[in-house]
Symmetry: C2
Subunit: 227 residues, 2 copies
């Protein structure tokens, strides 16, 4: 069986790739990375290094034109600053009823649909998707929720004529347990990039830096990307 | 309420646009047309003329790179000929178990996801989508089926944080009834283009030409695009 893995170059998708390669073998795995107009391209560089580490075919896609009308703070065209507080605090601010300012409109739906189109052309019957429980909490990123993933899986299954499914191994797993799984599989976290800013080193202040640090700390190890 | 209409320039989506403008007013309607690497661009020209007729904002998107790996007979890179038989006959050939050769892998899922991203940025809360009963028959185009549209609607509702829905007014309507609805609303069918070939005039032989002719005949009128 051939598998396509959506690879951003961060902790979650890199762990998903590690699991897929472990389970199906590197020759049956294709990584897909999507540019969507982020303020920096550190993630893509990380995805490239990770794919090279595993020796899998790596495809790229630029969907930034689709997001040209969005004012999401992650995107190049936005003047809005990326919040320097944890997701938990951002959710307090939104009241848990609207997405956070770093939500890119229906981004993950679009990533999965693009992956589905390419996966079908490449003979894959499974898409691996690293959405996880923490991201979906409090409506922060509704396109990481269990309800979204289930519906999208159904849409891809039906819309492909029963040829393709999604597997989201972390949809009920939190980030510290993802890191635990990845450490067991010797996932090369030193190659990954999570920070929303594009500096020389991770900023340590944005929501994703804070959550990543906490996930490694919970496993009693130092984040290898900070060494 | 603002509405985004996926507009290919064919009979179904043009009728969907006519209904949306009738219901919500032209200033609340945005048309979105997607290029996906078709062998010809007659459809896009038709979509442009239709949007101009209705006086709605018209956006374009080129997703052809996503389909570069597909060998679908509709696409530029394919040497496969477009079948010159009706859908009903094509379905007999596939046994009703796999999509027909003009199925573009997960195309409509990708169109709807792209529309969702842009609709959210443009403040729309509804996407109009002209999928209809005939196209879904016998698994020909699984991304036109009721099951697909329901799942995709759920995915967009959940993935957008309950901000956006799909409406597919024809999902249980056949093409001759769509034409009936459109004739009542004075939809400008003379501006539309359905044929899969890109000739000066419609070929009259491909599946979509055959079905279109039958739909007008069932209403006792001549297809205005043939005049």
């Amino acid at each position: 069986m051939k598998v396509m893995v959506l690879l951003s170059g961060g902790v979650d998708s890199t762990t998903a790739l590690g699991i897929a390669v472990d389970k199906y073998g590197k020759d049956n795995v294709i990584a897909l990375s999507v540019m969507y107009g982020q303020k920096h391209d550190k993630e893509i560089g990380a995805a490239e290094a990770v794919a090279k580490h595993y020796g899998v075919l790596h495809l790229y896609l630029d969907l930034s034109k689709i997001f040209q009308y969005s004012d999401c703070s992650l995107l190049k065209q936005s003047d809005e600053a990326i919040p320097e507080i944890s997701y938990a605090e951002q959710i307090k601010e939104t009241g848990g009823e609207t997405p956070v300012s770093t939500y890119v409109p229906f981004r993950n739906g679009l990533f999965l649909s693009s992956a589905a189109s390419i996966a079908l052309s490449k003979g894959c019957s499974l898409i691996y998707y690293g959405a996880h429980a923490d991201d979906a909490a409090g409506f922060a990123y509704p396109d990481c929720s269990d309800a979204f993933v289930n519906a999208m899986n159904e849409a891809i299954w039906e819309g492909s004529g029963h040829q393709l499914k999604i597997e989201a191994p972390f949809v009920k797993v939190n980030k510290s347990n993802i890191v635990k799984m990845g450490l067991d599989l010797k996932v090369p976290y030193e190659l990954t990039w999570s920070c929303y800013e594009g500096g020389e080193k991770p900023c340590g202040k944005c929501g994703t830096c804070i959550d990543r640090a906490a996930a490694f700390a919970a496993n009693g190890v130092e984040d290898p990307a900070l060494k």
